[in-house]
Symmetry: C2
């Protein structure tokens, strides 16, 4: 089979399509012929050598795909710890999802990782409830655009940040009630003490402003630290307001956790996709051989929504 | 009735016993003749003008007491938002507890606030489970000595910090498995990556070391910031380990929360007190008129366990 590899470990742009041995499935795995593979920011980090795969997982990039189970012909979505940038992937059974009714395999490949990440953090961890105000940073990205739609469907009041008028308009169309241009305004001044939940991808530089934005009982969930890992935390301010700060990644979780998350996500989120309340937001597709161009496109920050590779 | 007041708002030692109007109970309150009132660090802070009572609550200090319900003669423990340093207190019905079988009213007055604080944070919020390693800072204090006993009774492995050989020995007798002298060793070096839950009273200066000490899935709960409010948080370190930081106070909670906490605490903790698994740790009692001396004694840091005032 063909798969993407990093020809020169020191050059993140040296993504090359090469012949590779087909993955040998373990007892609890099936082999999936990949029809489409989602591109995530974590893949860009892995290409830069900053996000190695967990022990025992494939070295190949790619955290989600959709395709056909070899032998049965069943069409599935797949949450992966790696291995999506390839013609064939071995996938733990607990990490398979149905293809939502009405979605193509390309669209399915664009939502598995993001749906599981958003639901694990907003639904299972933060426990968002109808009527709560939720702030989503980076609302025009893959995670953000999915989170806005999910929260709007759940009856939350959705606030978001983005960096241009076009992106803000895009977020409003997805269902955001409040859209703040972070180049023009301080979100903490606008939202001071009002957010029940915040989904953050910036990390350290936003920490103090995120905590200032939290309401009594507010939960801050950080899933990426694009601005840097460390920030200042004011525990004295948080105490009388009973607030919490959570930080998680999905990829590092043990397989039994992932199976639990996939099952809960299919249960809670797939019906919202099938009803049209949440639409996949595929920005652009690239042939698998052009993975480097796909990474450049995602890195540029000009896109809205998700980027998908087609073997 | 007589009650303690701060004669000079600028002098925390000017605690004086004066005549005061008896409190008028609201519809959902009963009047309790106070037999004993626990002294807490929050009272010391209030005397210094740093911890005003929540709106609508008594100005008088005192967050817990035990006594007799006027009219029925029933003996009760009371969780208070204020008003315990007095001969009579008005108490919301939801904040009354039974007197645990075998305990005196003095002992009961020494455990209500601490039991509710420890259970709300370790049981209800952090969800400690049998077999988990839990670090309790300040193990020889009122909160710490109760938390060690509760955790040992629940089958946790208990680590603790204290500042002298005598206090460490006291903590071991209460059930601590690991006791670290913070003047001689860095607890984060000893416990690196091993603690499922940490109960913290130091705050900012301990934040980085507390997070270093957390295991995968670890929860840090800060209930006081005796060392200062602000610290550095490394979200990047926390993410792959799926950790969380919580900060809470009990006093600021709405009454319905307090009623829920009192009910859960009586349910989960009172049986452990009645079986003798958790013993009250009254260090010293003072007459109510000597509240200033009681505060000096608690402030000195020489005590182990709780300080109680007797009207």
């Amino acid at each position: 089979m063909k798969a993407i590899t990093l020809a020169n470990p020191d050059d993140p742009r040296s993504l090359s399509l090469v012949d590779a041995p087909a993955p040998a499935p373990a007892d609890d795995e099936v082999v999936v012929e990949v029809a489409a593979a989602g591109v995530n920011r974590a893949d860009l980090m892995q290409a830069k050598g900053m996000y190695p795969p967990p022990p025992g997982e494939p070295e190949t990039m790619g955290l989600e795909c959709a395709g056909t189970v070899v032998g049965t012909g069943e069409e599935v979505g797949c949450l992966l710890a790696g291995g999506g940038y390839a013609e064939v992937a071995a996938v733990p059974r607990g990490q398979l999802t149905p293809v939502p009714a009405g979605l193509s395999l390309v669209e399915t490949a664009s939502i598995v990782e993001v749906a599981c990440t958003v639901w694990a953090n907003l639904g299972m961890l933060a426990g968002v409830r109808e009527g709560e105000r939720v702030l989503v940073h980076g609302g025009a990205g893959g995670i953000g655009s999915f989170a806005i739609q999910l929260l709007a469907a759940l009856g939350c009041e959705v606030a978001t940040t983005a960096g241009s008028a076009e992106k803000l308009e895009y977020c409003r169309r997805l269902g955001a009630d409040i859209a703040i241009n972070y180049n023009e305004a301080d979100f903490a001044e606008e939202l001071e003490g009002s957010c029940d939940v915040i989904l953050d991808v910036v990390g350290g530089p936003y920490l103090e402003r995120n905590v200032r934005s939290l309401a009594i009982g507010g939960r801050l969930v950080t899933i990426a630290v694009q601005g840097g890992p460390k920030g200042t935390l004011n525990l004295g301010r948080m105490m009388p307001r009973r607030q919490s700060v959570h930080a998680t990644t999905l990829r590092s979780r043990p397989r039994e956790d992932k199976a639990r998350i996939v099952a809960s996500t299919v249960d809670a989120v797939w019906p919202l996709i099938e009803s049209g309340a949440i639409k996949p937001t595929v920005s652009k597709t690239f042939p698998l051989a052009h993975a480097a161009r796909a990474h450049d496109f995602l890195e540029s920050g000009e896109h809205t929504g998700k980027v998908v590779l087609i073997p």
